[in-house]
């Protein structure tokens, strides 16, 4: 997908003016935060489960070459095919070729962030293939022709009324009126049933790739992934290389921290493992099974200082707990992955040039790291990206030189204290009347939205020295 991350500031301002969006974000923040907390409180050894999940992923990443090859041979052994895509374009090309070889006219898809990353739908549609998203959230944003705004709730930015209006425009509702959430869901069920049953190819993502068994793991509540993987003639799973785990038991271990973190449920309605074409005697299942493995800069991440990011299991809890994400929503970020994890991934995948603002969209509050079930040090990574931003000369000049001068000044205490003394006196004078200062020349972003409170007028160091001198002379 094309990145619009450079428009972050304008898009976020717009988002904060959007009342509908703000009401949804408030609901999201309060709801999911509470649900996650309640779910975790029920698991007395959650910390231990987290530690284990992290160890599983660290071990897998440290031996990723081995497990990728094992996964490949397991898939082949069960009659499936594995394809390797270095870039988004490669993945799209391979998927299109499989569809065309199968003579596919209609494709159903279950939610895949990888397909969002590569922009797969557009490529298939341009080749004349009808693509239908079947996750309800994805279906809604497909109708709205919008990108997802959240990695597990792609349409959370839409209000109920907005969804009803979309359905009115795109479905033949006749006399029927949609009102309740249930009526919306029933309508979607009816339309999507047709799509499931008439699709030639089903494309799913994968939460896990199980090396030992050559299976892909799907974690959903709707069951759309299962229908997508079962009814069409061909099943294609698209996944990035870091999704591999050694054994099914390891997938279960990750699941124990994934679901409570993501939705506050102990487990989703459906956790399914699929692999290979239908077996002899199977009454259903696809005739062909393909997995396309995507790199898209992940080997670089594996080799460098951002490897820990590959532990991310896309639970989205960092989004739900990020004060910036819950202020501006997902679209402000301008690409596929929003929030803290997105502000790390987007610059690494789309380049620093367009995305360098994102690592700055962070107040370093540390909540993301606190709630991350995989212990990804998100604030450290965002800081590291700001370091790279500075090295690449992308930091605005005023900030760069101002801060450099400040940091140099800190190393010259005498000049620093003189400056501090002068500054505090000057500020005191400026704020004398109001008790605060309405506008300052340096760092004017501060006074754009708030006053600068008046200082007391003398520095502590100054007063301390004076007091101690007096105290000393008093003793004499």
């Amino acid at each position: 997908m094309e990145s619009k991350s450079s428009e972050f500031l304008a898009r976020s301002s717009e988002a904060m003016r959007d009342e509908h969006l703000q009401s949804v974000l408030n609901k999201l923040r309060a709801g999911l935060e509470y649900k996650r907390k309640a779910a975790i409180l029920k698991i007395p050894n959650f910390e231990e489960l987290k530690e284990h999940a992290r160890a599983v992923k660290d071990h897998t990443l440290a031996n990723l070459d081995h497990y990728l090859e094992e996964f490949e041979s397991s898939v082949i052994e069960s009659g499936g095919h594995v394809h390797w895509a270095r870039t988004s374009a490669d993945l799209n090309r391979i998927a299109l070729e499989i569809c065309q070889k199968a003579g596919a006219l209609r494709v159903t898809k279950s939610k895949s962030m990888i397909a969002e990353e590569t922009g797969l739908n557009t490529v298939l549609e341009e080749a004349g293939i009808e693509v239908t998203e079947t996750d309800l959230g994805e279906y809604i944003i497909q109708l709205a022709e919008e990108p997802p705004s959240h990695i597990i709730g792609p349409a959370i930015h839409k209000t109920k009324q907005q969804v009803i209006d979309l359905f009115k425009n795109h479905h033949d509702l006749g006399e029927r009126e949609l009102e309740s959430v249930k009526s919306i869901v029933d309508e979607a069920r009816k339309v999507l049933r047709d799509k499931f049953c008439n699709a030639d190819v089903g494309i799913t993502g994968a939460n896990f790739l199980v090396a030992e068994t050559g299976r892909i793991g799907l974690v959903t509540n709707e069951g759309n992934g299962d229908l997508t993987a079962t009814l069409p003639r061909v099943h294609i799973a698209v996944a990035s290389i870091e999704k591999v785990v050694p054994t099914p038991e390891d997938a279960s271990a990750l699941l124990r921290v994934l679901v409570p973190s993501a939705t506050g449920q102990p487990i989703t309605s459906y956790v399914s493992f699929f692999g290979g074409p239908r077996k002899q005697g199977d009454p259903d299942g696809p005739e062909e099974f393909h997995v396309i493995l995507l790199d898209n800069n992940r080997t670089d991440m594996l080799a460098g200082e951002f490897r820990d990011m590959l532990r991310c299991i896309r639970c989205a809890t960092c989004l739900n707990h990020c004060p910036v994400y819950t202020s501006v929503g997902g679209h402000a970020y301008g690409w596929v992955y929003p929030g803290p994890m997105g502000s790390v991934l987007t610059p690494l995948m789309t380049g620093m040039g367009k995305a360098h603002l994102l690592p700055n969209a962070c107040s370093s509050c540390g909540r993301c790291e606190e709630v991350c079930p995989m212990g990804v040090p998100l604030p450290d990574m965002l800081r590291q990206l700001r370091t790279i931003e500075r090295e690449q000369g992308l930091t605005p000049a005023g900030w760069r030189w101002g801060l450099t001068a400040f940091m140099k000044l800190l190393q010259h205490p005498r000049i620093y204290h003189l400056g501090a003394r002068w500054t505090t006196a000057a500020l005191k004078r400026m704020g004398k009347k109001r008790g605060s200062i309405a506008s300052i020349p340096v760092g004017s972003g501060w006074t754009k939205v708030r006053e600068l409170p008046s200082p007391e007028g003398r520095t502590f160091q100054d007063l301390w020295r004076q007091k101690n001198r007096k105290g000393a002379s008093g003793n004499e």
């Binding site: 500031l9 976020s12 904060m16 004060p323 910036v324 202020s327 700055n360 969209a361 962070c362 107040s363 370093s364 509050c365 540390g366 909540r367 606190e370 450290d380 800081r383 700001r386 370091t387 790279i388 931003e389 500075r390 930091t395 900030w399 801060l403 450099t404 400040f406 940091m407 800190l410 190393q411 205490p413 620093y416 204290h417 501090a420 500054t423 505090t424 704020g431 004398k432 009347k433 109001r434 008790g435 605060s436 004017s444 972003g445 501060w446 754009k448 939205v449 708030r450 006053e451 600068l452 409170p453 008046s454 200082p455 007391e456 520095t459 502590f460 160091q461 007063l463 301390w464 020295r465």
Partner: protein, 265 residues
């Protein structure tokens, strides 16, 4: 001086007060309140004159080279003390969580950073967890007004400050905190973030203020001047009058000093 009092003096831990650039510049009262509390708790306090700032603004903005130099200075200045105490979770977190990362792998310095990190504390955490400071009876009763507490992010997550200020307020000044919703959510300060992305920062601080109002607070307390200036400055811009104060001042019984968002003349 007699030998006995010498011994007494030596048994008191020697604290180097890291005053922080914001307290130094904006609100010396917090510094004096801090010294008073530390002395009451049985410490000897010194304020090294050579200190400036912990260097976090540059560190957070990617200027690692200068941040390293600043960190080395702070280590040199403060390593002679038994403890380093900071009336700020943010600067304490910088020293005790980030210096070791910043200087990791640099011979000699890595170890020195880790040693300093171990003895660096946020004020209320130090008074409670290290000094076990309590008063037999409240020193004064400030319970007449409704106080709420904003858990500043770095204090909470990097320095594990949560119960300590509440416990001290209760014990020293008979103040029971009226909790607001989302007390652990960021106020939107975030150092340079507040000036780099003012609109998002405003959105965050407005939520904080709304919640303090919903709790019926008359005074918002916190342990970090940055966050407090942010909340106070926004409050002032909005013409709202919940007082914003540093917890150290209240612990020292100083409600007579004008609030951070105090009125002018």
């Amino acid at each position: 001086m007699t030998k006995k009092s010498d011994d007494q003096k030596n048994s008191k831990p020697l604290v180097g007060l890291f005053i922080t650039c914001l307290v130094d510049l904006m609100r010396p009262s917090v510094g004096f309140a801090t010294v008073e509390l530390l002395e009451q708790a049985g410490c000897r306090v010194e304020v090294p004159e050579e200190q400036t700032c912990c260097g976090k603004p540059g560190y957070n903005s990617g200027d690692l080279a200068n941040a390293r130099d600043v960190a080395k200075r702070v280590i040199e200045i403060f390593e002679p003390y038994d403890y380093v105490v900071v009336p700020s979770g943010s600067c304490a977190g910088m020293i005790s969580r980030h210096y070791p990362k910043l200087l990791a792998g640099i011979p000699r310095w890595e170890n020195r950073a880790e040693v300093l990190a171990e003895k660096c504390f946020e004020l209320t955490g130090f008074l409670t967890d290290v000094m076990g400071f309590t008063a037999p009876a409240p020193l004064s009763d400030l319970s007449g007004r409704t106080f709420t507490y904003h858990d500043t992010c770095t204090g909470l997550r990097e320095m594990r400050v949560k119960a300590q200020p509440r416990q001290l307020l209760r014990n020293l000044r008979n103040v029971e905190i009226t909790e607001m919703k989302g007390t652990e959510e960021c106020c939107g300060f975030g150092g340079t973030f507040a000036a780099k992305m003012p609109d998002i920062s405003r959105h965050m601080v407005d939520a904080k203020i709304r919640r303090a109002e919903d709790a019926g607070a008359q005074i918002i307390l916190g342990g970090d001047m940055g966050c407090l200036m942010n909340i106070a400055g926004r409050m002032k811009r909005l013409g709202k009058d919940i007082e914003v104060r540093h917890v150290a001042e209240v612990l020292a019984g100083r409600l007579d000093i004008p609030a951070i968002n105090g009125k002018g003349e």
